[in-house]
């Protein structure tokens, strides 16, 4: 049997103001917020934005543990970049590493840049998690095409999502059939037999997908497909959607004002 499928819409059917929020207004306002956030240049502004996003996540009843787990996926990458940033900024060295040919300076300014980088990435990632976790995937795609994203992209995503599971099941069955005939990948991936076996698997998978693609197209034509996947439109923007969207954009602007030192009189 196929293994447990990834459940993309696991939290998309919870009930909160953020779930009821019209996805198109949600997308646009969060995009504006995102653009503002990644352009912030001060820790104060970013911390303000981060707290706003965290409040939203709490408000949307999303489970914190799962969000942290999801964040865990990007932490190694972010960390790998972030650790080198302090060496790449000129400034007052906190300590230096002598590598013989040249010396690396771990600078104070570099640490600042690194902190800003971390905060920006976390803000952006959390914001994206917030939007995708509170909107069912197909609604998200429909909103994207409502927002005039070319259909070719949304259709591609839709089919990729739908057939990813079919293909992965197929690959798994082939893998299992191979194992049941005692195939064991050699310790060295570059061994001739292992390589040709995996090559064969990929090739067959490609041909099968191609043939399936043709059958899917025939089946769509059978039901009168004319080059456009039509859906019944039952999304309606209401006053409160506009209000929530405006609030998000305004909060973005407030964090921008923080960033520019506009609240300097508050004495942080």
């Amino acid at each position: 049997m196929p293994q447990e499928h990834i459940h993309l819409d696991e939290f998309a059917h919870l009930k909160s103001a953020f779930h009821r929020f019209d996805p198109r207004v949600k997308l646009v306002s969060c995009l504006v917020f995102l653009v503002i956030v990644v352009s912030l240049k001060s820790t104060e502004g970013l911390i303000f934005a981060l707290s706003v996003i965290c409040l939203f996540i709490l408000g949307a009843h999303l489970p914190a543990v799962r969000i942290l787990k999801r964040l865990g996926l990007i932490i190694p990458v972010v960390f790998a970049i972030g650790i080198f940033l302090p060496f790449m900024q000129p400034g007052i060295p906190l300590f230096s590493i002598n590598l013989g040919f040249f010396t690396l300076h771990f600078t104070d300014q570099g640490v600042q840049v690194s902190i800003l980088f971390f905060l920006r990435v976390f803000c952006a990632a959390l914001l994206i998690i917030l939007v995708t976790y509170t909107t069912p995937f197909h609604i998200l795609l429909r909103s994207l095409s409502d927002l005039k994203i070319p259909k070719i992209f949304t259709h591609l995503l839709q089919f990729a999502f739908r057939y990813f599971f079919v293909l992965s099941d197929e690959a798994q069955r082939m893998q299992r059939a191979r194992r049941s005939r005692n195939f064991k990948p050699a310790k060295n991936f570059w061994s001739r037999q292992t390589l040709s076996t995996f090559g064969g698997l990929l090739g067959i998978l490609f041909i099968r997908s191609y043939e399936r693609g043709e059958r899917v197209y025939f089946a769509m034509m059978s039901r009168g497909f004319k080059g456009e996947i039509r859906v019944l439109d039952d999304l309606h923007i209401q006053g409160k959607d506009i209000a929530l969207g405006t609030a998000i954009v305004l909060l973005g602007i407030v964090s921008l004002v923080f960033d520019q030192g506009g609240f300097g009189w508050l004495q942080f």
Binding site: H5, D9, P136, F137, H138, L141, Q158, F159, F161, R162, Y163, F165, V166, R212, R215, V216, F218, A219, M220, M221, S222, R223, G224, F225, K226, I229, R230, V231, L232
Partner: protein, 273 residues
């Protein structure tokens, strides 16, 4: 009864030159239950793709309701002839069950209210209404199959064509499927299935078409399935029930039973004497 589907001298050759159909002629009457039987590679699936204009005849003709299928009317034909593919994963592509069943009616350009009615009655007909907001990849094979049938039903075609409908279904799933098909037949629809399940064809069909190597061997009633020469030529075998009674029936000069019910009756007759 009038022929609702008529095919004459149909030829089809794939891109690579392999001939798939070599002069197929057949006619299907209204409200029949037709089983197209043939071994693997006989051209069954290719033939079915001609029924609603997915493949247009390279030579010969296909007439639906007396009208020849051409590039100009292939779209209208597709709402008259509904094609259910063998693998429901090929057919059910939308994000939710409801969206998928609505796909056909939406393409027909119907009004919203009409679409909603069609989708709900199609889903109820196959017993999948409760699953309407599920994603297809979270359904079982049999459930996906039923959604695929609903997707075709929602276009309310006169003819429903199914490619290997019972393949990979468990016995309960097969029973459920044939109950649905018999329901549709009672509502006046013509049902055509392609299969190599002889027992099922003998039990269910009112008309049999034997296909081999892209040619029609014979068309007629289920008595074709117990004709030695035909069955052998089509790489098939007798229905199991017929195999059981073959010698007895020949010895007593009785008609050879083909379905389980006929077999039971014969058994009663034989044991009472």
């Amino acid at each position: 009864m009038a022929a609702i589907l008529e095919i004459g001298d149909l030829f089809f050759r794939y891109h690579d030159g392999t001939p798939a159909l070599k002069g197929v002629s057949l006619s299907i009457q209204q409200e029949e239950k037709v089983a197209i039987l043939g071994p693997n590679g006989a051209g069954k699936s290719t033939l079915l793709l001609h029924f609603n204009g997915i493949h247009l005849p390279q030579q010969g003709f296909v007439r639906v309701d007396g009208e020849e299928i051409s590039q100009d009317n292939e779209r209208q034909v597709r709402s008259k002839v509904g094609l259910v593919f063998q693998d429901p994963d090929d057919q059910v592509f939308s994000a939710t069950v409801w969206d998928d069943v609505a796909f056909g009616p939406l393409n027909m350009g119907l009004k919203r209210k009409n679409i909603e009615e069609r989708v709900s009655s199609a889903l109820q007909a196959v017993g999948m209404w409760e699953y309407r907001s599920r994603a297809p990849h979270h359904l079982s094979y049999g459930q996906k199959k039923r959604v695929a049938i609903a997707g075709v039903l929602a276009m309310s075609p006169d003819i429903i064509v199914l490619d290997e409908p019972a393949a990979y279904l468990d016995p309960a799933g097969q029973d459920a499927l044939f109950a649905i098909l018999d329901d549709l037949h009672r509502q006046g629809r013509t049902i055509v299935i392609a299969t190599h399940d002889i027992d099922m064809a003998a039990d269910w069909a009112t008309s049999i078409i034997l296909l081999k190597d892209g040619q029609i061997l014979a068309q007629g009633g289920t008595e074709l399935l117990v004709q030695d020469d035909l069955v052998g030529a089509a790489d098939l075998r007798f229905p199991l029930v017929s195999q059981v009674f073959q010698e007895v029936a020949a010895a007593l000069d009785l008609p050879l039973p083909r379905t389980v019910d006929e077999g039971k009756k014969m058994l009663f007759k034989l044991t009472r004497h």
